[in-house]
Amino acid sequence: MSEVLVTSAEPTPADAASATPGRTRRKGTLGIVGWLCVAWLGLVAVAALLAPFLPLDDPNATDFFVDNNSSPGTGGHLLGTDNNGFDILSRLIWGGRVSLIVAVGVLAVGMVVGGGIGLLAGFYRGKLESILMAIVDITLAFPSLLLLIAIVAFLGSDLKNVVLGISLVSIPAFARIARATTLTFGQREFVLAARAAGASNRRILVREILPNVVLPVLAFGLLVVAIAIVAEGSLAFLGLTSLDTVSWGGMINGGRTPLQRDGIAHVALFPTAVMFLTVLSVNYLGDRFRAAFDIKDAAL
């Protein structure tokens, strides 16, 4: 308390210096780390999207001219080969497609279904809210990984079902965030002003509240994306997803044997590192965006 008083009473050179980082933290500026995250995610996304056009080895073709688990650089394999003699770089890039699909799919389903539920519940309140939120709470009460495993076990383990399962598990979180945001914006005076100008409920919901709710929910959605990528990885690591699909989680799983048996680390290390960096970047950016919206709100 007294420290605060001292610093505020007497502007020191340190204050002047700290003003600059304060400025860089403003909305729209990401800082060096932020830009590194963007660059990494951009690289992953572009590589994954362009995978069919890149001069890569077939991710599911064994190279018989080199050993399995050969070190990076041998026989033209930049990152080496794995336990089956598959090219690791190629598998990383093709595996990125899975993570990308999971990320986009979960974000889309979560925003639309979860966001929709939250928006309706937060705006109309009353009975509708009780019913919707009860459903959400019930879904939330299931252990999510168990639910995910059950879904994949029942519906089959192809990628579509994995995305569907993770989306289903993440819908409650989206719904709650959207509801909370809608509640705060629903009580703002501009909503009353719109009503007093003769706007119908639907118009108020779509024109006044939705545009305000989308951005905070999207910022939160980035954090969910990180969790979703990890969740898919976990399923793949447990061998619960289709073995035909190349995915980072599956690659880590595949790297277990060389690591335990032969002490060869790179087969598991590369996919782990890529996944770690990706999730970290998404998390960091998500946090940054959320902070940016907080500042924007405070400035209003």
């Binding site: 005076e189 009353l192 002003a193 719109a194 003769g198 706007a199 545009p211």
Partner: protein, 384 residues
Amino acid sequence: MARRERRILTADQSEAPLLVVEDLATRFRTPNGLVRAVDGVSLTLERGRTLGVVGESGSGKTVLSRSIMGLLTSREVEHSGSVRYRGKELLGAKPAEMRELWGTEMAMVFQDPMTSLNPVMKIGRQITEGLRYHHNLSKADARDQALELLKSVGIPDPVRRLDQYPHELSGGMRQRVTIAIALACGPHLLFADEPTTALDVTVQAQILNLLKEQQEERHMAMVLVTHDLGVVAQHADEIAVMYAGQIVERASTRTLFENVRMPYTEALLKSIPKLDEPSHTRLQVIGGRPPDLINPPAGCRFAPRCPYAQERCLTEQPPLVEAETPGHEYRCWFPVGTAKGAEALERNLAEGDAAAVAAVTGDSTAAERVTAAATTNDDQGGQA
């Protein structure tokens, strides 16, 4: 259908008053009990006239204006009485019917332009929204009208403003924008709910003048809600003073300022700082707080804080009675400026009544004693 109805409404405009409110009551159901926020308010308003509604915070001014407009639609709100707009009963009207009136017939300017504009929508869109769905204008026509509106409310460089967001404008500019939005569809009745409270003092006068100007130009009726008697003195034709959900005095502006009858109004007038007083003069405050609206006092609601209060005031509620001047009504047993009132004040002074001492001498410790007494009364009321 609704459009035709409106045309019929326009036909008989000058006949009856635009707005007639009779015995309007608004109650909120809360876990602690029923809050009587507005309790038996009656008023009439004609086109081209301004009614100032004055009172301290929590006296029910805002709830009154929102009740008349029908904006309080929560399930926790109960209404009774009657609100007739051009002869049409609004209480109990369907939401769809009200939507036909909102914006086109009656509109509202809110207190805080920081929160009454949508932060993520461009100014232009916010103005054209109403024009587009009420008047079915094309995008280009609506934009032209929005431009005209921005010009008429005195916004410099209006073309650029159309494509700006609210946060790019100053508070005064934003309030001009909300006025433009409220006026967009040509309403006949404008509610201005403390339109200048959130603004800089220098901007206040500009906004009030703008409202007056627009009102005269469009021949609108206006309800100007404020806690600032100075504001209504200049801008209202008639003033209703509210206390604890009731109108306690109503008169034309001139009569009210010259012939105060209700002690509450007198106290409000006394609490305005005056320029000709020496600096550091203590402001005369009204000791105590407004009563608990769940269990309002049995007698006059102002009695616990009133310098004139007698036994009768604590037990019997005074009705709204007509003064000598026609159209001047007040609620008091011992009105200011009468022999009865002077005698009551005399008696209280002799007895050393805290409220009376505070009112006459400006003694702040006496005012604090009133506050303390009112607080203990509240506590007892809560336990009972």
